[in-house]
């Protein structure tokens, strides 16, 4: 990452030119006035043209990356760490003399190494510096920068890197390292907590919106008022949880007075349950079930089939035959007999 700012090229050029002119004046021997005047004139001329010349002398560079990185966060006094400066430009260059290093406080460079790589659409420069920390405290390296005329921006810019800082400590390196890791872990935990809180907040907000708007819209209209069902009669039809035989007896009793298909279905289902089959099975399944060994129950099951699915004209007779078989089956079952005679 590179930070680009306007460089102070005008002042730099003027001061540098003036400095060179004054240095020249001091070197002139006494009695050489004509030479002095000529020098002064040259200096003034140089100063007057310094501003445009300095701006024009900036190289054309478009810097896309300028960053500094260190390999250690903590060193002992006298210890060495490494600073890596990464520069990426969009131009093809063999050298990058324009890179100005930052100030090295409480540390000094011991060696350096430059690596250049031509990449697609530019050049990569990596400057690796070995830096020795000096006294306990902090070793700080201010941002490196490049002053250049950016062709894409159409003006002169200063591209700057980040600053880096290394802790220089006399303490136990392990302890210091652990302490450093602890700080990092704490920072990560804080960020995680922050993220979790944000996500939870979003969920809560979404739930509130869903509850307030979506569910309210989907809620069906209240059912229209209906007349009350004959509760007493229904109670007689559907007795509470009892044995299958007792329930069969109860529903068969209802069938005696109500020969509707709906009641017939319930009688057939009750017969299936007595046989040990569930509703949804067929007569053959029920006859194969272990509970259907009783001949009366088998007769009732077969009769129920005709009463349930036979032609309307024949259902009455089939129903009677079924009821007779159920009665015989009920008498043969103690629970059923009790329910039947109740």
């Amino acid at each position: 990452m590179a930070v680009a700012n306007e460089p102070d090229v005008t002042v730099i050029g003027f001061v540098r030119a003036l400095h060179r002119a004054v240095s020249g004046l001091r070197k002139i021997p006494d009695g050489s006035l004509p030479a002095f005047l000529a020098g002064a004139l040259a200096a003034l001329t140089a100063a007057s043209v310094a501003v445009p010349l300095a701006a024009q002398s900036l190289p054309q560079l478009h810097v896309t990356e300028l960053s500094q990185r260190i390999d250690r966060a903590l060193v002992e006094p006298g210890g060495v760490f490494h600073l890596t400066i990464h520069v990426r430009i969009t131009e093809r260059r063999e050298r990058l003399d324009e890179l100005i290093l930052g100030t090295f406080e409480n540390c000094e460079i011991t060696s350096n190494e430059t690596e250049r790589t031509a990449i697609a659409g530019g050049t990569d420069f990596v400057e690796r510096l070995s830096v020795q920390a000096l006294a306990p405290g902090y070793a700080t390296i201010s941002p490196a920068h490049i002053d250049a005329f950016d062709p894409t921006a159409g003006r002169a810019l200063r591209f700057s890197s980040n600053a880096v800082r290394v802790s220089v400590s006399n303490g136990d390196p392990l302890k210091a390292t652990l302490s450093s890791w602890g700080e990092r872990a704490r920072a990560i935990a804080l960020r995680l907590l922050q993220a979790i809180l944000i996500v939870a907040g979003l969920f809560l907000a979404g739930f509130v919106v869903y509850t307030l708007f979506v569910r309210r819209r989907r809620r069906p209209d209240p059912p229209p008022a209906t007349t009350a069902a004959p509760v007493a009669a229904r109670g007689a039809e559907e007795p509470g949880p009892r044995s299958p035989a007792a329930r069969l007896a109860a529903v068969a009793e209802v069938y005696r007075s109500d020969r509707s298909p709906a009641v017939m279905i319930r009688v057939r289902e009750a017969l299936f349950v007595c046989a040990g089959e569930s509703p949804g099975a067929t007569l053959v399944d029920a006859l194969k079930a272990p509970g259907a060994r009783d001949p009366d129950l088998r007769r009732a099951l077969i009769g129920a089939e005709a009463a349930a699915f036979g032609p309307a004209a024949e259902r009455e007779a089939a129903g009677d035959a079924m009821l007779a078989a159920i009665a015989a089956y009920g008498a043969a079952t103690p629970e059923g007999a009790a329910a039947w005679t109740r």
Partner: protein, 312 residues
């Protein structure tokens, strides 16, 4: 239960007569008679030598009808089936010669060995109940039933029947191998003597009466709904590319009525429907590639689909 007495000879007697000739294969024999009662055609699938052809011959003999067999081959022509007009030199006129399709029971042996043109000629006749020779249309004798066989083992040199043509068969029966005892009986019975067919157990009029009687069998609304639910369950089911058509529901209802009639019942039960559903549905479904990829048999899928629909 009540009985139906519309005809002097009961169809069960034909079943028993065929069963005297055929050892085992009770399901196939029942299905053949059911299709005859329902007025439909049957596709029999099974390995060679499992009495498919013999069952058809025994059925034709038992009802006293005409029986013709057509061996389907790749060089068969439509005129070999429906017939043609030939010039009679004595009278100096063209006369019509009916093909083997003009019979009460037509056995189309290995139907998938003939090309599509020949299959179409047969299947059109099955649908219309008549054939056109030159410009004249001739009705088939009644009752008319095509019993077609397919051998699932030899795939080479066969022409698969399209789903639309398979749909015209009322039922597809899978004829399996006989059991150990049945196979021993077969060796004892047919090892030394010729096959004896019981002839004239019933008449063609009896068959017509059965067909009328079966149409009068009562089908309760809930059983009808069960039929429709079964057919609809095949559509969009896993592994099924194309489900069964409404013709399948009609076929299943007809078969169930025929079964009730065969059992001397005046009404159809859910058992009739459930037991015959595989025969009515198995040849009407198209399965997708996943079936083969997962190594699952089509028959097991059909049975699972049927089992998943609760009976009334």
């Amino acid at each position: 239960m009540d009985t139906v007495n519309a005809a002097p000879v009961r169809p069960r007697e034909v079943v028993d007569a065929v069963a005297e000739t055929i050892v085992g294969q009770a399901e196939a024999v029942d299905a053949l008679v059911l299709a005859l009662i329902a007025g439909g055609h049957v596709l029999l699938e099974g390995a060679p030598g499992v009495a498919k052809t013999l069952a058809c011959r025994a059925l034709a003999a038992a009802i006293g009808g005409s029986f013709k067999r057509i061996q389907f081959t790749p060089d068969l022509l439509p005129s070999d089936i429906v017939g043609t007009r030939i010039f009679d030199a004595r009278t100096g006129e063209f006369i019509t010669v009916h093909g083997p399709i003009f019979a009460n029971i037509v056995l189309a042996d290995e139907i998938n060995r003939a090309p599509a043109k020949v299959q179409s000629a047969l299947l059109e006749g099955m649908q219309e109940g008549r054939a056109t020779i030159a410009l004249e249309s001739y009705p088939f004798p009644t009752p008319f039933a095509v019993l077609a066989t397919m051998n699932p083992l030899d795939g080479d040199g066969t022409y698969a029947l399209p789903l639309a043509q398979l749909d015209r068969f009322l039922a597809k029966i899978v004829v399996g191998f006989p059991s150990l005892d049945e196979e021993r009986t077969i060796v004892d019975r047919f090892g030394t003597q010729a096959v004896a067919l019981r002839r004239g157990v019933a008449s063609l009029d009896d068959v017509a009466a059965w067909q009328r009687g079966a149409r009068e069998v009562f089908l309760d609304e809930r059983v009808r709904n069960y039929i429709v639910d079964l057919v609809r369950a095949t559509r969009g089911a896993k592994y099924v590319d194309h489900g069964a058509s409404p013709r399948a529901a009609l076929a299943l209802a007809a078969l169930a009525r025929a079964r009730a009639y065969l059992a001397d019942r005046r009404f159809v039960t859910p058992d009739d429907v459930r037991d015959l559903a595989p025969a009515a549905l198995r040849h009407r479904l198209a399965f997708d590639y996943r079936l083969a990829a997962d190594g699952i048999s089509a028959e097991s899928i059909v049975r699972e689909l049927i089992a998943a629909v609760p009976a009334p």
